[in-house]
């Protein structure tokens, strides 16, 4: 069993948006938008599962992604968006928390892409244009770039790593994606 590769999904999203040379067909544009959302979804689910487990927990890393709920993830992202209100439990435990703009960008992109994916898959009365679809693909691509700047990672092999405060904010974000509903009112 292997998890979807986020980067492949992102590449596929762009390919689908550009699939027809002249007049694009709705199916290609809608699948492009959906793939763009799922690219970011799987990127965050994968890194959250990694953040919450050890590398040796191979089975757990397959199991944990099933715990993520789309709506709850969007709700969690609202906390980390630029104008997001911090719940009391976060304000108390992380009094000095500064959310990097790249992290806010990822959170906002997730919310927007989820909305776009719903429209692409269910709002059949509204047509998509190529520019609309490509704009959502670009949004996902930017989210990947932003996430790369804040993503928690080891400094093995001389990788540059984000500052500790940035990693702390990113790890909180990843945990919040799955536990937000349980922790919000505490």
């Amino acid at each position: 069993m292997s998890a979807p590769a986020p980067k492949r999904l992102l590449e596929q999203a762009r390919q689908l948006a550009l699939r027809e040379k002249k007049k694009p067909i709705q199916m290609s544009l809608r699948r492009a938008v959906s793939a763009a959302y799922y690219a970011v979804f799987h990127l965050l689910v994968r890194d959250a599962s990694r953040s919450l487990t050890r590398a040796s927990d191979k089975r757990l890393r397959l199991l944990l992604p099933r715990a993520f709920v789309h709506e709850e993830m969007a709700q969690a992202c609202r906390t980390f968006a630029a104008a997001g209100k911090k719940p009391a439990i976060i304000a108390t435990l992380y009094p000095g928390l500064v959310i990097p703009p790249e992290l806010s960008g990822v959170a906002e992109a997730f919310i927007a892409l989820q909305r776009a994916r719903h429209d692409a898959d269910y709002a059949t009365h509204r047509n998509w244009t190529r520019t609309m679809a490509l704009s959502e693909v670009e949004r996902a691509e930017q989210a990947f770039l932003d996430w790369e700047k804040v993503r928690p990672r080891s400094n093995r092999a001389g990788n540059s790593v984000p500052a500790p405060a940035v990693i702390e904010a990113a790890r909180l974000f990843l945990a919040w994606l799955v536990f937000q509903k349980k922790l919000q009112g505490r």
């Binding site: 719903h118 047509n127 244009t129 190529r130 609309m132």
Partner: protein, 107 residues
Amino acid sequence: MDTLAQVRPALRDAHETLPYRDAITDLAYLRDVDPYGEEALLVYITITDAQALAPSNKRAIEARLREALSSVFEYYVYFRWQTEEERVESLRETVDDLIEQPHSALH
């Protein structure tokens, strides 16, 4: 309070100070409901052509519009980008009168 009545002037005012505003030919809006049943606002941004704006410029414009609308519309605002050619074609293809068309804030 009819919040939608305030959307139009808010968008018009915001347009005056938008970065890269020469590339924007129209801002139009529709009241909508998000997938979880909450009220939302869909804003169509029409640009001269597909290459008119870099992705980062689009995000900057969205941020400015979101900020401008935050004082008159408390729910989620989301955006769809289209070119002038696509807008015209889309209008031509929409034959169903039951589908509400976006209301232009600039024209």
